[in-house]
Symmetry: C2
Subunit: 321 residues, 2 copies
């Protein structure tokens, strides 16, 4: 088994070795640009870790890992158009740096590049790999659609919200792990368990994200604390608060189209504190984390094989930025 650091090295090399055509430049330059903005490469790492969990060599699943990373970056490019986002990892988004048309079409060809990488996996596993990848990709699109729809709705339930973050964020973690498992020849039962592990970690991770947005240490947090509050984003925290109180003060802050931003963040945070929303969110997060770790425990491989994946999951859920 490779160490996590060794796997990251394998990924870095594979990413550097990704080659796209030179021409037409405007079609392919944005691909290298977005992929080289960096990021933690968690998703492709999960592909490799799952392959090694089941006793195969990570090099067997490098192409699938690249497919997942390119697909993920494709969704970022298109989501940034839809969300009208100017920045991604502190740099101009593709539609800002080039144009919306370039971002649409480069995104499209990234989807093709993802599929080209996927087609390189061992043909024995190809059908299963495709079915898993396509189901994952479909889920991610559905999640983005629901996220957009929720902006215009004021009756989103907690259950709908959890389903949305499951689709938008968690199924890609689950799908990445399942791909790695399939390529290692894992049993269908174990492949499903590792997928569920990823989905549950993903939901816990997103809930942690919601909590950090309000309660992160501003010194360590990469972005503005309270960003979700300012944007009235329907996070678990806001939906839970709305479910627990019919406080006119909270509704007033939501309805106020031109508030003092600092006052709004302070006031809404105070309401959350009073309603013990942070504790509720942490309880929910721990619930999904507990199911995830049970999924991992149920997988029939030697305990030692699970160590690195367990540790990565712990780190993802303990982060403070």
């Amino acid at each position: 088994m490779h160490t996590t650091e060794q796997l990251q090295q394998i990924l870095d090399t594979a990413i550097q070795n990704l080659k796209f055509p030179d021409h037409p430049k405007q079609l392919y330059d944005p691909i290298s640009y977005i992929i080289n903005l960096g990021g933690k490469r968690v998703r492709p790492l999960l592909v490799l870790m799952a392959t090694e969990l089941f006793g195969a060599d990570a090099n067997e699943s490098v192409h699938a890992a690249m497919a997942i990373e390119i697909f993920h970056n494709f969704t970022l490019v298109h989501d940034d158009i839809m969300d009208n986002a100017p920045l991604r990892r502190g740099q101009a988004t593709v539609h800002e740096k080039w144009s919306t048309n370039v971002a649409i079409l480069s995104g499209d060809v990234m989807m093709v590049e993802a599929n080209k990488n996927l087609a390189k996996v061992n043909p024995v596993f190809l059908k299963d790999v495709l079915d898993t990848f396509n189901a994952t990709a479909q889920g991610v699109c559905e999640g983005q659609q629901l996220d957009m729809e929720f902006e215009g709705r004021d009756d989103v339930s907690i259950e709908e919200y959890i389903n949305m973050i499951r689709l938008k964020t968690a199924v890609l973690l689950g799908g990445a792990l399942k791909l790695g498992a399939i390529i290692a020849g894992a049993s269908a039962k174990d492949a499903d368990l590792i997928e569920q592990f990823g989905e549950n970690i993903g939901i816990a991770f997103q809930l942690q994200d919601d909590i950090l947005d309000v309660y992160a240490d501003p010194e360590k947090f990469g972005k503005q604390v309270g960003g979700d509050i300012i944007a009235n984003k329907k996070t678990f925290l806001l939906l839970k608060a709305l479910a627990k109180t019919d406080s006119l003060e909270l509704q007033g802050w939501i309805a106020n189209s031109n508030p003092n931003i600092q006052e709004k963040v302070q006031a809404v945070t105070a309401i959350y504190n009073e309603l013990q929303i942070r504790e509720e969110a942490e309880k929910e997060m721990m619930k999904y984390a507990a199911v995830a770790f049970q999924n991992l425990k149920d997988i029939e491989v030697p305990l030692a094989n699970k160590h690195d994946l367990h540790e990565l999951a712990e780190q993802l859920l303990k982060r403070n930025n």
Copy 2:
């Protein structure tokens, strides 16, 4: 072997049987909408015809045909955003009827649906099918990018133009035929020949389109005769005319940002007539058609098998609308 009419019946049934999820509605409704706008279904028909050309049953390649049809419709949805087109087959485009964001995301999920259909082909051929499909999809994206870039350039050569229409239009015809051939177990040589047949027919078809735009019978033509002239579209005719003359009159019409449209169409057509541009375009078209029919001739199957495909190609090149 099925007749062409029988194959069209198989396609109609398969299209009617395409099922997409009900939810989220805004993600999936546009797929049914665009696919049911109709069209001649030439591309999926080519998949089936190629399968039967090589002695297999068209039902073997129905899933690949659906993948091609869904992919083609996906490109229409995204191209219409990029081209800012209000109408498609006389109806509102997806971004007009819903929104640009819906059109982007529905398009993305159509690409996934195309891949899901593709994954259903006989696993024996899956790797080859994917490689062909992905190369085709990549070519189509490159063609659209070049088409957009050409709008802003005034030094496009005839050679570049032919390469652009090859990518944007012809590779999909060639790819559709090659998919059908692969699924019938055709030899690599024959699969390449049928692909080249499709590409050459596709280029001839697009040149015919350029000619019809100027010289169609207005009574039979579905759209405004001279539309390309009005839009200064860099077709084979315009590029050839610019290469053959440094007529200030032609350049004047191109530079005029607010011309009398009827006068412009008449005047530019008169210049084309004087320069015998129609004859040049027809010669070029016949050149590609001749290569195409030679490709078909070179394929090692009984002559009788080639009849329907030959006839379809003839019809495509003889159409007057």
